[in-house]
């Protein structure tokens, strides 16, 4: 086991990793920017090193300063958390050449799965379905034939396109050729290049991701899925485990595909494979793989009875996954709300400032992961998430009632937060029925004129 782990991150995840280290009897080193000097992760680590001023590019994104901090404190491993340098293959390389263990997969695997094209090719090569698509189509006739092969609906996309321009969804055969022409013409007008390709349009998809983890003792497992379809502009707001959409048979198919993929690339440590699932819950498509721990990992921990951060550290130290993880079976239902310092009724404008009162909910099945406390000032430099509220219940109904209760108890004064918005979502019949897709929040906000 490591003597000392340096946590190359900040906020709630840095604190999470420090707590896991303490329970494993491993010393921890926090690195921090000048803006984070009062952060709880700095206070609770065994040692702390200042690595730069507030802006991330001058501190948390400086690989050389982080390695230097590991050198002067004698840390033998670095946990990168999520975001920042966690999926930076070059940083993983530098760790390795400096003789410091990077807690995660190898730099080569990070590189492979970090490139979207390579990742998709790897998925296909290992029998994991991806959203069917095409190469550039020479003309409308060739495109039409391909569209029929893929199966409608399809999205016609300009290869030079962006910002929604040069894109046309096609639902009806007879409209295809004119839509193709329209997309191409728009692309020529906007980007000077009318080349178009096709992609299968997954209608009202759900974002469902599988947690995987592997060790150097030949264990490659998945720990079930998380449904993260409650998103605003591709940012997750609420996550739950298990997904209300998946049948046991789908879960099996997706789980098997996930394990096959990580075995094929000899993936090590924790990771998440993200899929799109169609509205009927019958087809799944590989989207991408995140070669790190995810923000929403707690819902998996609660349902599967495991501690993922500890397992990451143990795997990196060459140990086998814990027996209770290898034998884990799901129990109950967990929901997480990401509490952001944003005003949901003013276009989610960030709301940094001083928290004059912080009272977090408690009681059975309530977990709050946060680095924040009463009197803390939320700095303006970083993403706006200040806490994760995770509830667990024996059933989904109990979990929903518990989340409503916990959100109602939460008091955060001095800044605006997303809590009132999440309370509205939790009360909505679509959430109670579990019939929400990745477009739901967008439609809900539009209906309310927000």
């Amino acid at each position: 086991m490591f003597q000392k782990v340096l946590v190359a991150n900040r906020g709630e995840i840095a604190l999470r990793i420090i707590r896991a280290c303490r329970e494993l009897d491993v010393a921890s080193v926090a690195v921090y920017s000048e803006a984070d000097i009062d952060s709880m992760h700095v206070q609770l680590a065994d040692e702390a090193v200042c690595i730069g001023p507030g802006p991330s590019k001058d501190s948390y994104l400086k690989p050389d300063r982080i390695i230097a901090a590991a050198e002067i404190t004698g840390a033998d491993a670095i946990h990168p958390g999520y975001g920042f340098l966690s999926e930076n293959a070059r940083f993983a390389d530098i760790c390795e050449s400096s003789g410091i263990t990077f807690i995660g997969p190898s730099a080569d695997v990070i590189r492979m799965m970090g490139d979207k094209a390579t990742a998709r090719a790897t998925a296909i090569a290992n029998g994991v379905p991806i959203t069917p698509g095409s190469e550039i189509m020479a003309d409308a006739d060739e495109a039409y034939a391909k569209a029929m092969e893929i199966g409608l609906p399809v999205m016609i996309k300009a290869t030079a396109g962006g910002g929604g321009r040069g894109m046309r969804p096609c639902f009806k055969e007879e409209e295809f050729k004119s839509l193709f022409q329209a997309a191409s013409n728009e692309a020529v007008a906007c980007f000077g290049n009318g080349d178009c390709y096709l992609e299968k349009l997954v209608l009202n998809p759900h974002h469902i991701e599988f947690q995987i983890i592997a060790d150097s003792h030949g264990h490659f497992i998945h720990l079930g899925e998380r449904d993260c379809s409650m998103q605003r502009r591709n940012q997750k707001i609420i996550e739950e485990c298990p997904s209300p959409l998946l049948s046991p048979e789908m879960r099996q198919r997706m789980g098997d595909a996930s394990v096959a993929l990580i075995k094929a690339i000899n993936y090590q440590n924790a990771g998440t494979i993200e899929y799109l699932v169609d509205a009927a819950g019958e087809n799944f498509y590989f989207m991408e793989m995140n070669t790190r721990i995810q923000v929403e990992h707690p819902v998996t921990e609660e349902v599967m009875g495991c501690e993922l951060i500890k397992e990451q550290i143990r795997v990196a130290a060459g140990e086998s996954l814990s027996r209770h993880v290898l034998e884990a079976t799901p129990r109950g239902h967990a929901i997480e709300c990401r509490i952001n310092a944003e005003d949901p009724y003013n276009k989610f404008m960030p709301s940094p400032g001083t928290i004059s009162l912080w009272y977090a909910p408690g009681g059975k099945g309530v977990r709050v992961d946060t680095h924040v406390y009463s009197g803390y000032s939320v700095p303006p430099y970083y993403d706006s998430m200040i806490a994760k509220l995770i509830v667990t219940g024996a059933t989904r109904e109990i979990a929903i009632a518990r989340m409503k209760r916990a959100l109602g108890e939460f008091m955060i004064h001095g800044i605006k937060t997303t809590i009132p918005f999440q309370q509205e979502i939790l009360k909505h019949p679509d959430f109670e029925k579990g019939t929400y897709d990745i477009g739901w929040v967008g439609r809900f906000l539009e209906e309310k004129g927000l």
Binding site: D46, V49, S59, D64, I94, L357
Partner: protein
């Protein structure tokens, strides 16, 4: 009250007081908690093992004379280019802009830290061979 989503109703008359509640009055509770005396906002909670920073310049500055030259990076501070060589600068040394003041070693690279302006070194703060973090005071200059 349910019909109108009311959570709290308070009526005070000369001889009676009526209070109806549907649920907890979070506003009242929040005001109560906020009004209680608490530790000053800036003080982070104290723990039995506070995180000692690895600042090399832990000695309190005596008379704070001159301006601080702080570390622009993380690493190990050296006063001289080699163990048996003379120090780059000493107390009282006059330095010109661009002159090397010290070395901070990180990742096997010896980084020369240069003076950003000319002046006279009035205090040597960082200790030779000690680790320094970003922002630690290395010298004072006037």
């Amino acid at each position: 009250m349910n019909e109108h989503g009311l959570t709290h109703f308070d009526l005070s008359k000369k001889d009676f007081h009526l209070k109806l509640k549907k649920g907890p009055d979070m506003e009242e509770l929040g005001a109560l908690l906020a009004s209680l005396p608490s530790a000053p906002a800036q003080a982070a909670p104290q723990f039995s093992a506070p995180a000692p920073s690895t600042a090399a310049g832990a000695a309190p500055p005596p008379a704070a004379e001159g301006a601080e030259i702080t570390s622009p990076m993380v690493g190990t501070f050296y006063r001289r280019p080699a163990p048996d060589a003379p120090d780059f600068v000493e107390a009282g040394s006059t330095v010109s802009e661009g002159q090397t003041l010290c070395i901070i070693e990180a990742m096997k690279v010896m980084n020369e830290i240069k003076a950003e302006r000319s002046g006279t070194i009035c205090a040597l703060v960082a200790e030779d061979g000690n680790p320094v973090q970003y922002g630690d005071v290395l010298f004072r200059i006037k």
